[in-house]
Amino acid sequence: MSTTDLDRIGARAVSDLRGDFPAFADRSAPAYLDSAATAQRPRQVLDAERDYLERHLAPVHRGASAAVGRSTTLFEDARATVARFVGAGDREVVWTENATDALNIVALGLADASAGLAGPEASRFVLEAGDEIVVTEAEHHANLIPWQRLAARTGARLRGVRVDEHGLWSLDGLAAELSERTRVVAFAEVSNVTGFIAPVADVVALVRERAPRALVVLDACQSVPHRPTDFAALGVDFAAFSGHKMLGPNGIGVLYGRAELLDALPPARTGGSTITRVTLDHAEFLPAPHRFEAGTQPVSQAVALAEAVRYLEAIGMEAVAAHEQALAARVVDRLASLPGVRVVGPQAGAPRAGLVAVGVEGVHAHDVGQFLDEAGVVVRVGHHCAQPLHRALGVTATTRASAHVYTTADEMDRFVDALGEVRRFFGVADQAAAVIA
């Protein structure tokens, strides 16, 4: 793809689209290449939340007033919008604090079912000693530690699918870990470090065949904001994603679950609005999604998230994926000729999502990041909440650039160019590197 193509996203010029983002109003602002951590927000999203707060703010689902009716309608319409966006029914979208919270709700729900805190409807969630939970070594801590805790709570065993020297796992590797004892298979659709795109439908088919008792839990944090998603078509049981990575607000995330599963999963967090009848000793819970939505919900955030969805839909998720993946592919191509820089994840030519993490020989990632920062390129350095993966790669930390709809080829080029300078600055450049830089 030529750079000219890279400067368009769907029907729009990226430069034009950037006009929607107040954060980019200052043209001398650094290149923001940390969207995989959190994305910037367009004016449309900020305005939608403010409009709700200035003109429609009222409680939802409680009381009889017209104000509550309007607020409730906006809130539930937002849910329907987000549900449609990811191929879910309205009742299959639960608001959470973030994706981490969503994954915890599943893991804690299984623990409660296993501890006998739910009725017979939850029997399929009961784990016993000897049962197994399968994750990959590449998981974000959010999709790892809750499962460690579930294992500790139930006596189940956690198994990890190993990654290769690039940080990639395979269907074969997964297949080797599956059995009748497998009760949960949890993995990310897109890795936030390697950019690997998992073959979700194939995984689901494999799990259904080899591990018929397993629930498939998808960490969709890095996929929903960047590519078309249809959870029903993928056939996963549960999925999680966050608002703030998809041009929406902080403080809101989504737990997707197939309706009959959500209705049976015991709610880990309890309180007002989740219940039908409550006595001093006992409470009965509503069906999903409300059984999980304890206390006052992120209503203004839901309204804003729905606006973010409309914004992304107007661009088209196919176009979003094509744009971001082309940017990343170009970075990988250019880095191939840079000595001392190791690209983690799929190598040149292989498909990858719109992010690239690298290791720079002889320079610690935080020094790399500091150098890039001074060069006007904001990246993320560290273990990216994936310590086991980094341990497998033999490094403590890497440096990651990630794209979103507003990212330009020029910004990605600045990343590559600055990377070309970094080893010389820290006095570790070899002859070859010096020539190229």
């Binding site: 009381g63 017209a66 009716g69 219940i275 039908t276 009848r277």
Partner: protein, 163 residues
């Protein structure tokens, strides 16, 4: 008609005090308890069916849908809308076949989802058209539906093949 009078038509206020059918029905063919989580109100609806008579059948299936509702009664408490709606339902369904009752419930539901649009069909809905005004009040739609949803569940129960 002002908002409030459109919602609380005189006939609704009257029905809410009349409470037709507010009593215990012994040995029902079906019973269902419905709960409104927004307010905590509850209602239990019970029905007795008279078995289907071939002469009564409006189609030639002669299936369970052709049984008639011999009696409907309810117990519970709630706002004036829910009480008036239960009372009106009691009057309207007596003697209808199960299929007819289902059609009535569907028409009532459609009216309540209309958000005030359209004109309800009095031929079909009878006195229940008084609840058209409720459809503009999203938070109250559940009140009006409460007894009707309970009846719907009763009918499903009573006509389930394995009963």
């Amino acid at each position: 008609m002002s908002g409030l009078e459109g919602l609380y038509q005189q006939i609704i206020l009257d029905q809410s005090k009349r409470r037709n059918g507010d009593r215990l029905l012994e040995d029902p063919d079906a019973e269902h308890h419905e709960y409104n989580p927004t307010c905590g109100d509850e209602i239990t609806v019970r029905v007795k069916l008279s078995s289907a008579d071939a002469a009564d059948s409006t189609d030639d299936r002669g299936g369970p849908g052709t049984a008639r509702i011999a009696e409907l009664a309810w117990q519970g408490d709630g706002c004036s809308i829910s009480m008036a709606s239960a009372s009106t339902l009691t009057e309207l369904v007596a003697g209808r076949t199960v299929d007819e009752a289902r059609e009535l419930i569907e028409a009532f539901r459609a009216m309540l989802r209309s958000q005030g649009a359209g004109e309800p069909d009095e031929e079909v809905l009878g006195d229940a058209i008084a609840f058209h005004g409720v459809s503009k009040y999203v938070m109250r739609v559940k009140c009006a539906m409460l007894a009707w949803v309970a009846l719907e569940a009763c009918l499903a129960q009573a006509t389930r093949p394995a009963r």
